[in-house]
């Protein structure tokens, strides 16, 4: 498995015109679906309008084996493996795009990526400014989906994306991060730690190669890969006209299904998913809803190994928390069980069944 010269030339071309694409008004996926020659035409228009004299065209024609080998070497030096659209193992779903990424740069192992891409990947995306509720839901969904053997795909951005990845990490780390820049460097940089954790059992992929910088349009180009890579895209929180909603639109265009998590009507972060729900997308409340959406209602159930083997008292506490009796005070005053509440909670927390969220509320991690 590797990348062919033609696909590497295409990648080189996209990287080369990357800066010019920043200043145009067309839709990103339309531009990326242009054939090489048309893309060069498109570039020439921009370049002429701005009076730029560039050798791009001759460079394109000079791109040969040596240049392709150079690109391969660079990728290898950065620890990336390559797969191009000509390869049979290239994820089938990506071909639904009009302009699928010519080459995918994979950090964390190509074999692992192909395996994960076949494991019913589900995209969980959302705003970079979530509320506590949004973060919790994203994390819970990420973990629940991951526990059930599905792969979580997201963009590793701050907020919902990171929470979804973290949820998947808590359940073994089968997750794909699609990055807007180079797959060998985390974006944003502050998520370095998360990036390292993802690479232990998951992968990071990108369309562009080493040394490319992140631009506004590459973020949207990244979103189209997320949307196309998955059969189901779930929007947790996001304002209208946000990146998360752009992913949803792109998912519609490639014909994959959409889900949205309802939220409080009082916060603007809920407007995006609520708009989607009004249009009739799948309602997602918990990991079970995701499984129902992917495999059909009732065909598979969330099986959480952690929740098996709990004592009756511990189960009572879990059920109470799930029913909304989730603060220490409420649990103590309801006396839903016989044992000592403090002790049971500590046991559950140490076993990883519950965790404490902001405001001292307990959240069942499953």
């Amino acid at each position: 498995m590797a990348a062919c010269d033609v696909c590497l030339r295409r990648t080189w071309l996209v990287e080369r015109v990357s800066g010019y694409l920043e200043y145009q008004r067309h839709r990103v996926d339309d531009i990326l679906s242009l054939e090489d020659q048309l893309l060069i035409e498109f570039w020439r228009e921009i370049a002429e309008r701005r009076g730029v004299d560039d050798e791009l065209e001759s460079e394109y024609h000079d791109f040969g084996v040596a240049e392709a080998d150079l690109a391969r070497e660079r990728a290898q030096a950065a620890g990336l493996e390559l797969i191009c659209a000509c390869d049979a193992a290239y994820p089938e779903r990506l071909r639904r795009l009009f302009g699928p990424p010519a080459v995918l740069h994979v950090a964390g192992g190509l074999r692992r990526f192909i395996e994960l891409a076949q494991a019913d990947p589900v995209a969980i995306v959302g705003t970079r400014h979530p509320t506590v509720y949004g973060t919790e839901v994203a994390q819970t969904l990420g973990r629940g989906v991951s526990v059930s053997g599905l792969c979580v795909v997201s963009g590793m951005a701050v907020g919902i994306d990171a929470a979804a990845h973290r949820g998947a990490l808590a359940a073994g780390g089968r997750t794909i991060a699609v990055l807007p820049g180079c797959a060998a460097t985390p974006y944003p940089k502050t998520n370095q730690q998360l990036y390292d954790q993802i690479l232990r059992n998951g992968v990071a992929v990108s369309e562009l190669g080493t040394g490319t910088s992140v631009r506004k349009w590459t973020l949207i180009a990244r979103n189209r890969i997320i949307a196309a890579l998955c059969e189901l895209t779930i929007v947790v929180q996001g304002k209208p006209r946000s990146g998360a909603l752009s992913t949803a639109k792109l998912a519609r265009r490639v014909g994959s299904r959409l889900g949205a998590v309802p939220g409080s009507v009082l916060v603007p972060q809920s407007e995006g998913p609520h708009g989607l729900l009004r249009d009739g997308v799948v309602l997602i409340r918990n990991p079970q809803d995701v499984l129902d959406a992917v495999f059909g209602a009732g065909s598979r159930e969330v099986l959480d190994p952690v929740l098996n083997g709990l004592s009756e008292d511990q189960r009572a506490v879990i059920e109470a928390i799930q029913s909304g009796v989730d603060t220490l005070s409420a649990l103590v005053s309801k006396r839903v069980h016989t044992g000592d509440t403090l002790m049971l909670l500590a046991e559950l927390e140490l076993a990883g069944c519950v965790r404490r969220a902001t405001g001292g509320r307990y959240v069942v991690t499953a």
Partner: protein
């Protein structure tokens, strides 16, 4: 002629013996004071001159030189006035110089010759006893405070003339009445005012019983401050030694006049307080709020609003029970063995996680949390999320009252004191690693559970010790010495967020 009399300077909270030497020689009339005094000491020349003349004595019209020995120690404040005046009178032959050999004198003079209050009388009395000075002349208003120290004769006098009479034995003032505890009558707010909050009450009981630090977190108006203000009402009474320590610090700071302070101090500095104001400092160094809260409670309301430097400065005092302040060539030690109680909101708007009203983003909350110092949070033994009581709880009777809890606290403390007899610690909160090893017994289950909690990753090594301390207190409250598994688990739950939440951090 030369006269010499003992007085004391307050160095931090420690008394330092000072000899006031006065030499009178023929020459042009002059009055010089040497010995590293501050402005108040220099001005004392005028007070002494006027007080002597207005008391009906003669101020010698000769060359007077006064020295405050040792000359290397900086002397601050007007407390040397009385000693200077008596030494001048003795040196000028108005009474017998030898009368000053066995007496210490402390107090400020007014121009009319009356003796006025000066800060730190209790520390002075302690100094007198330590240096075996048999008698101590103090202002009448301070006689009760000085008489708290046994083994010295306290001569409470109203003015310079009475002081001379007392020193010369012409008229010995009566021994002041044994000091009564002060302020015990003040009605403290009672926990019976609180509705609901069963978890918070449990945590407060544990905190009071073991002297642990407590963080109250919750939305505005749920009763964090109300609970904290009622904590003193369930604390055990102070032992006499402790009360003396507290009285000494407050006396030195000039905040207390009269007898013994019997109630544990409750200090609630405003969040604009500086680091120096919190742990002590300035020149001359004064005790800060942490020292004024010695043996009592330091309450930091709205912890996130405090200046970072001020809060960070509390770390060492919390751990050591004292703070060392270095000024020039001197290092001063102030005692700071207090319980830290802090209250904070969970996010900028205050309602995070509790109410749908909160629209703070994850980043806002992280930024807010960052204002709470991690190392300080690690030193908080108990974290309670105070929630809004339900309507039903608001209408029902209070869960408990202060008297009930206090009785349980006193019992638990007695158990601790018995176990810790012969050590430096007096309660579980003061246990250091060595004492935990030597005096705390955990059963096998407890050891295993502690190991689980440590492996889960949310505990620091210090946190582990703190969990053991709290677990011991929980056992004490149940009348057991042996710490069991459930005690450890309860302590873990009441501590901060363990393990899993680490992954929440962005």
């Amino acid at each position: 002629m030369l006269a010499r009399v003992t007085t004391f300077a307050i160095d931090g909270v420690e008394p330092r013996r000072i000899f006031v030497e006065v030499d009178i020689r023929p020459g042009l009339p002059a009055f010089t004071i040497v010995g590293l005094g501050d402005t108040a000491v220099r001005e004392s020349r005028e007070r002494v001159r006027a007080a002597i003349q207005n008391s009906g004595y003669e101020f010698p019209q000769r060359r007077i030189t006064a020295n405050l020995a040792p000359a290397s120690l900086r002397k601050v404040g007007p407390g040397f006035d009385a000693a200077l005046a008596l030494a001048v009178l003795a040196a000028s032959g108005q009474f017998d110089v030898s009368r000053l050999a066995d007496v210490a004198v402390y107090g400020e003079l007014s121009l009319g010759g009356t003796l006025r209050w000066a800060a730190g009388t209790l520390a002075v009395a302690e100094g007198a006893r330590r240096h075996r000075v048999p008698a101590l002349v103090v202002p009448l208003s301070q006689a009760r405070e000085a008489s708290l120290i046994e083994g010295i004769r306290v001569l409470g006098v109203s003015g310079l003339r009475a002081a001379v009479d007392a020193v010369t034995g012409r008229e010995i003032p009566p021994m002041p009445l044994a000091a009564l505890p002060d302020g015990s009558g003040a009605a403290e707010p009672d926990l019976a005012d609180v509705r609901g909050q069963s978890v918070a009450l449990t945590a407060m009981e544990i905190a009071a019983a073991g002297g642990h630090n407590l963080l109250l977190e919750g939305p505005p108006g749920t009763g964090k401050t109300m609970l904290a203000r009622r904590l003193p009402s369930i604390l055990p009474p102070m032992a006499r030694e402790e009360a003396l320590e507290v009285t000494r610090v407050h006396s030195v700071a000039g905040l207390h006049r009269g007898g013994l302070i019997a109630t544990r101090p409750f200090r609630a500095p405003h969040h604009t307080v500086s680091a120096a104001g919190l742990v002590g400092g300035g020149n001359p160094p004064r005790p800060g709020e942490a020292s004024l809260a010695h043996r009592g409670i330091l309450f930091l309301d709205e912890l996130a609003e405090f200046q970072r430097t001020a809060v960070e400065a509390l770390r060492q005092p919390l751990e050591d029970g004292r703070v060392t302040i270095v000024r020039g060539q001197r290092a001063l030690v102030f005692p700071t063995r207090f319980m830290l109680i802090a209250a904070t909101n969970p996010c900028p708007c205050g309602y995070a996680g509790v109410d749908q009203r909160c629209s703070c983003s994850e980043i806002d909350i992280k930024r807010y949390e960052r204002r709470l110092s991690g190392p300080l949070l690690d030193r908080m033994d108990l974290l309670v999320n105070v929630v809004r009581p339900s309507e039903q709880e608001m209408r029902s009777a209070p869960i408990t009252d202060s008297a009930t809890l206090r009785a349980r606290v006193i019992e638990a403390r007695a158990r601790q004191q018995h176990r810790l007899a012969g050590t430096a610690a007096s309660c579980n909160g003061e246990l250091d690693a060595g004492l935990i090893h030597a005096r705390v017994r955990l059963d096998d289950d407890a050891v295993a559970k502690l190991g689980d909690a440590y492996l889960a990753g949310g505990l620091s090594a210090r946190g582990r010790h703190r969990v053991v301390r709290v677990a011991q207190t929980i056992a004490d409250l149940q009348g057991r010495d042996l710490v069991t598994g459930p005690d450890v688990l309860a302590a873990v739950t009441l501590r901060q967020q363990v393990g899993a939440t680490q992954s929440m951090a962005a």
